[in-house]
């Protein structure tokens, strides 16, 4: 990566006096560089060409985006971007459109430019966008639809603070073309207050009363009114600070959603049935992804698909059919044991995973994996905001194995959680943590693995080494 940057900086130096190359030349150079890089086994195929293209011809993304006949969809938020983009993609594919899209690992400007460069004559563009990159990409792509999903505390070391992101999003919405459709989450007070300012907007939310919780989890953000700073009142809380909120002091209230999930029936780790009501009638979605966060992803995806004119029938068919092909909850059989992996990269995600695991009826054998690489967040203090205490209530937890580069930080989290009476094994090394968790579980049992992103990659490598999953499995 640093080699690429140094290289493009040198090109920058050469171009100091020339602002931009003709598009055909810039595109040809960028494509060739991407091919070369792949040939040389250097990687970078999903970002390098776009990075180069943006240097050689700064207006290239804007030109290519304008040429997409049915417009550009930009989707952003702390949690659920990848899954939601995939659900929208399924609906677009089902409708017969030729889609240009980026992948999870390339959600910055260069990834979007690379995707546009590599997909000839698309009908429509769908990009999941890093929260901090959204302002630039809105300027570059003049989107037809912008989807604002949520803002949770995430990797503070990377983004600075949540408040700065909210400010950035606020100016994005203020500068938005009035014709752009803004799809936003009414249940997130911070996002809703920003989204409701836009004249052409679609709000979505969840209103199934039996899903609510009584108290805000410790990690809840944004629990004060954005307008007057008084504490918000919640009629119902779904995830973190999401729910049916209102400010008793100044009267600011959750906007009435245009699209509502009115009934959500969970089917354990296998999936869920969601009944939604929309302006164009009811839609029933059978989703092969578990848990409340995925219910939000599905509602966001349906709202987005409707915004670009896809019919409810097409959407339902697409989600039911294609949903099973991917997902962050994944089951793998290891001999007679079943291993379920639930990825989380921040307190809100981790708390939802804990809730899902506690809803299981099997004896609980857990393997928690914490890494501190860039994609995980180098600051691991967030684990202290996760409500691991819930796992220790009653007699649910049968075994606990802690792994990853920061396994000892997890160990301290549990040592200090309930007074140090919990038994756990600490095994930082990936293969050792896997072996220990399997041994603790015993034949015929189930192991739930809760990793951060790169810890999940390490875990998959252990499984691949044992022939349990294919070697090459990453997106695309």
């Amino acid at each position: 990566m640093t080699a690429h940057i140094r290289w493009t900086e040198r090109i920058d130096d050469c171009l100091m006096k020339r602002p931009s190359l003709p598009h055909w030349l810039a595109a040809a150079v960028a494509r060739t560089a991407g091919r070369l890089s792949r040939l040389l086994g250097r990687g970078g195929g999903t970002t390098l060409p776009g990075l180069l293209l943006n240097r050689l011809r700064p207006q290239a993304t804007e030109e290519m985006a304008r040429a997409v006949p049915n417009g550009v969809i930009l989707l952003s938020g702390t949690n659920g971007k990848t899954t939601t983009a995939r659900l929208v993609r399924a609906a677009l594919d089902e409708s017969g459109a030729r889609v240009v899209a980026n992948t999870a690992g390339s959600n910055l400007e260069r990834g979007v430019a690379t995707a546009l460069l590599n997909t000839p004559e698309p009908d429509i563009a769908l990009f999941e966008v890093d929260e901090a990159a959204l302002p630039t990409l809105v300027q570059q792509t003049h989107p037809r639809v912008v989807v604002l999903m949520n803002l949770f505390r995430d990797q503070l070391d990377r983004y600075g603070e949540l408040e700065h992101l909210a400010q950035k999003w606020r100016s994005v919405v203020a500068d938005l073309d009035p014709d752009t459709i803004l799809v936003y989450n009414a249940d997130d007070p911070g996002v809703a207050e920003i989204g409701a300012e836009h004249p052409n907007s679609v709000a979505y939310g969840i209103e199934d009363p039996h899903l609510g919780r009584e108290t805000l989890p410790h990690a809840a953000d944004n629990t004060n009114c954005r307008r007057c700073d008084s504490p918000l009142h919640y009629q119902m809380i779904t995830i973190g600070h999401l729910g049916q909120w209102a400010c008793p002091a100044c009267g600011l209230i959750r906007p009435q959603p245009d699209l509502i999930a009115s009934n959500v029936e969970f089917e354990g780790m296998d999936g869920q049935q969601i009944a939604m009501s929309t302006a164009s009638g009811p839609i029933d979605v059978s989703l092969r992804l578990p848990g409340l966060p995925n219910a939000y992803n599905a509602v966001a995806a349906v709202a987005t698909a409707i915004a670009v004119g896809i019919t409810p029938t097409t959407i339902s068919a697409a989600l039911a059919e294609r949903g099973a092909a991917f997902g962050r909850a994944e089951h793998i059989n290891v001999g007679t044991r079943r291993v379920t992996t639930l990825l989380a990269k921040n307190p809100a995600g981790a708390n939802e995973n804990i809730r899902m695991v506690l809803n299981e009826t099997h004896p609980l054998h857990l393997l928690l994996l914490l890494n501190d690489r860039t994609a995980d967040g180098q600051d691991v203090s967030w684990i202290w905001d996760v409500d691991y205490e819930l796992l220790l209530e009653g007699d649910r937890l049968k075994s606990l194995t802690l792994g990853g580069t920061r396994a000892h930080d997890l160990a301290l989290r549990f040592r200090y959680a309930v007074g140090g009476t919990t038994d756990f094994s600490v095994r930082p090394e990936p293969a050792a943590s896997f072996e220990t968790a399997m041994a603790a579980c015993g034949a015929g049992g189930r192991v739930y693995v809760l990793p951060t992103y790169t810890a999940m990659l390490d875990f998959r490598r252990v499984l691949a080494d044992r022939g349990l999953v294919p070697e090459f499995w990453e997106d695309e």
Partner: protein, 248 residues
């Protein structure tokens, strides 16, 4: 629970607003390390509009987002007298990150707004446009012993100390108060301010026990803190130090 175990009374200031870097981890460390020795922690939480109790042995201020820190600053400055009185009488004050900045005379935001502080420590902070972020290792001397302290820093503020306090530690790895003078945090008597979170205390049990010893002394409880098995703490400490690039 009515038997009279020696008890440390902790004033946790603004737990609802200053909690961004897992500050509850520091409180848990105080609690458990007392309980494991047959002692007790009593926590008094005070928020916006509440009066600060003057009778605590230990006060804790955590870190907050800019917006919350501003709210707290406005509230705190006018009612800081009981806290100052307790600190002058030997109560321990630990202030982390945003809380550390509030201990100084003032904080100037990136757009030039000046926010008054409590002047509990002789220091001033001005925000810069770039943040100082990363793993930190310090050498800290307290009660005649030098030890390493590990943590994580993430702050836009650049803090400069006046003659009324000394640095909390010398920076072995990381940025520290301002990224220039090689020092981190501030110390004056039993008042400590630092940018280090992670949270600070779980991986630095040595520091936690010194603070508890001071607090127990202030409480008038003549008890020795028995050593605990800190194998896991030391392992996590070593991992963090190695991550900061300091092999131990």
């Amino acid at each position: 629970m009515s038997e009279s175990r020696p008890t440390v009374r902790l004033g946790h200031l603004y737990p609802d607003h200053l909690n961004i870097y897992a500050d509850r981890g520091n409180i848990a460390v105080f609690r458990r390390r007392l309980e494991w020795r047959g002692l007790a922690l009593e926590v008094v939480e005070t928020g916006l509009g509440d009066e600060i109790p003057a009778d605590c042995n230990l006060y804790y201020l955590g870190g907050g987002q800019d917006r919350d820190q501003l709210l707290v600053a406005e509230d705190l400055v006018g009612k800081v007298a009981p806290l100052r009185q307790a600190a002058d009488g030997g109560a321990v004050v630990l202030a982390v990150c945003g809380g550390y900045q509030l201990m100084g005379h003032s904080y100037v935001t990136a757009d030039g707004k000046k926010m008054r502080g409590t002047s509990l420590l002789d220091l001033e902070t001005a925000a810069s446009h770039d943040r100082l972020i990363g793993d930190v290792v310090l050498s800290v001397n307290l009660d005649g012993h030098t030890n390493t302290v590990v943590g994580y820093e993430n702050h836009a503020g650049r803090t400069r100390l006046g003659p009324g306090c000394t640095p909390f530690g010398r920076v072995d790895k990381g940025h520290g108060n301002n990224g220039q003078d090689g020092f981190e945090g501030a110390l004056s008597g039993r008042r400590i301010g630092t940018y280090l979170h992670g949270p600070l205390l779980p991986k630095n049990p040595w520091l936690a026990d010194i603070l508890l010893r001071w607090a127990l002394d202030h409480a008038g409880a003549a008890v020795e803190l028995e050593p605990l098995d800190d194998t896991l703490e030391q392992a996590a400490h070593a991992t963090a130090a190695a991550r900061a690039g300091l092999k131990r």
